[in-house]
């Protein structure tokens, strides 16, 4: 599947860079990501990982270089329904329960066939917390609710910014399992992380950012 196929890559960056106040935040970057692939974005603190992910999600403008989506020039409308971003801020309303938060997300993105909010929450280790307002959850429990969203909504490309932070060991296993399942179903993912990621499904691609 990764072989030089006639299928264009899902996402392709050519000499991509981003500028803040005319200074490059990350240098010209070349990479491509096919369906069924996982890429790790690596780099020291401040090297621009978060910035890259926000750019790929469509929140920031491309500074220079080119970005292609399934072979076409990248456009927000084309990939909005197929991309999910998990950022430093989780995007959960603290006053709503975990279940209600998932319902809102499903109202916008639709839901995967066969997936239900309660089922996803149970799978992620939050059974019994469905009706608790998110504000009462600890840092790691909140992160789990955000991960549950990934599993509930349909999407091809996942952009995960430090998904392992704040999670205990069981939580880290869970993220790995989620990623494996997603990749196996033909999805793609871009993940930033500092810790050693022990991903089971083969060595992931690596994208290095230089500070």
């Amino acid at each position: 599947m990764i072989a030089a196929a006639p299928v264009p890559p899902l996402l392709e960056a050519r000499a991509l860079s981003f500028f803040r106040a005319d200074e490059p935040v990350f240098g010209p970057l070349d990479f491509s990501l096919h369906a069924g692939e996982l890429a790790l974005v690596e780099g020291d603190n401040g090297s621009g990982k978060t910035t890259l992910l926000r750019l790929l999600a469509g929140l920031l403008h491309v500074g220079a270089g080119e970005l292609r989506w399934r072979g076409e020039p990248w456009q927000r409308e084309a990939c909005a329904g197929e991309t999910l971003l998990l950022g430093h801020q989780l995007g959960l309303k603290a006053d709503l329960s975990a279940r209600e938060n998932l319902a809102v997300a499903a109202g916008l993105h639709g839901r995967r066939e066969g997936a239900s909010a309660d089922g996803v929450l149970a799978a992620i280790g939050l059974a019994g917390y469905e009706d608790e307002p998110v504000r009462r959850l600890s840092a790691g429990q909140k992160k789990r609710v955000a991960l549950a969203r990934l599993r509930l909504l349909p999407a091809t490309l996942w952009l995960l910014d430090e998904p392992y932070a704040n999670l205990d060991r069981a939580g880290i296993e869970l993220v790995n399992a989620l990623l494996e399942e997603h990749i196996a179903q033909g999805g793609a993912a871009l993940v930033t992380s500092h810790g050693a990621v022990s991903f089971h499904g083969g060595a992931p691609r690596r994208i290095r950012m230089h500070a």
Partner: protein
């Protein structure tokens, strides 16, 4: 890969915001209390002459309601911005404008509507003649959604900055002035027994235009404000 249809997405956003408002129903009462308080302060500051108060009643009520709305407007996107849900909304597969329209509608329902409901009480406390009150209500019913819509665009523009509250007040004022002039004009005309339809018709026309254009402008402003 089936994004939800627009109508379902709009319903989800509206329901979400109304649920959130209901969870914090104490907050709904706050603009109302604020208006009540401001109106209470005036007799203390001006002295309690009934004739004087009656003369300025409609003006004070109008300004007060606008100030209370202005305060509440500040929070239109703040919460969503802080916890990242605004980003998630911007990444939704549906066009952003109608979703924001729903947010504005929910905001108007939860802040301006309660104010309109107690406006007669405020007016009564300042001895506004009973006959003028329907006109005041009509003016508020047209002026407040107009301000909500215009305000939302400005709130969106200031979303990326920290100093939003006051900046917002500053930017909203030039927009407030014509609205206040027309609304106060209608009430004053009614108080003097003159025809008061014309100024309200102008407000209605402006409202119709804003309903169409403001959500689009709001969406554009938001994308600009968060692009950094």
């Amino acid at each position: 890969m089936s994004a939800a249809p627009l109508s379902r997405a709009c319903a989800a956003v509206l329901r979400r915001d109304l649920t959130l408002a209901w969870r914090r129903r104490g907050d709904i009462a706050m603009p109302v209390l604020y208006a009540l308080i401001v109106v209470t302060l005036f007799p203390f500051a001006l002295g309690p002459e009934d004739a004087l108060l009656q003369r300025i009643a409609s003006g004070v009520v109008l300004v007060t309601v606008l100030l209370a709305m202005l305060l509440a407007l500040d929070g239109l996107f703040r919460g969503d911005l802080e916890d990242g849900s605004l980003e998630q909304l911007m990444l939704a597969p549906q066009p952003l404008a109608p979703l924001l329209g729903m947010k504005i509608l929910a905001h108007w329902l939860t802040t301006a509507l309660p104010l309109i409901v107690i406006a007669p009480l405020l007016a009564g406390m300042l001895h506004l003649p009973l006959a003028v009150q329907p006109v005041l209500l009509l003016a508020l019913l047209l002026a407040t959604p107009l301000l909500s819509l215009l305000g939302a665009v400005l709130v969106a523009l200031t979303a990326g900055t920290r100093r939003s509250g006051m900046l917002l007040a500053l930017m909203l004022l030039p927009l407030c002035v014509p609205v206040v002039i027309f609304a106060a004009g209608a009430v004053a005309a009614a108080q003097q027994g003159l025809p008061w339809i014309a100024p309200l018709a102008w407000l209605g026309a402006a409202l119709a235009m804003a309903v169409v254009l403001a959500p689009l402008a709001c969406a554009a402003a938001l994308r600009i404000a968060l692009d950094a």
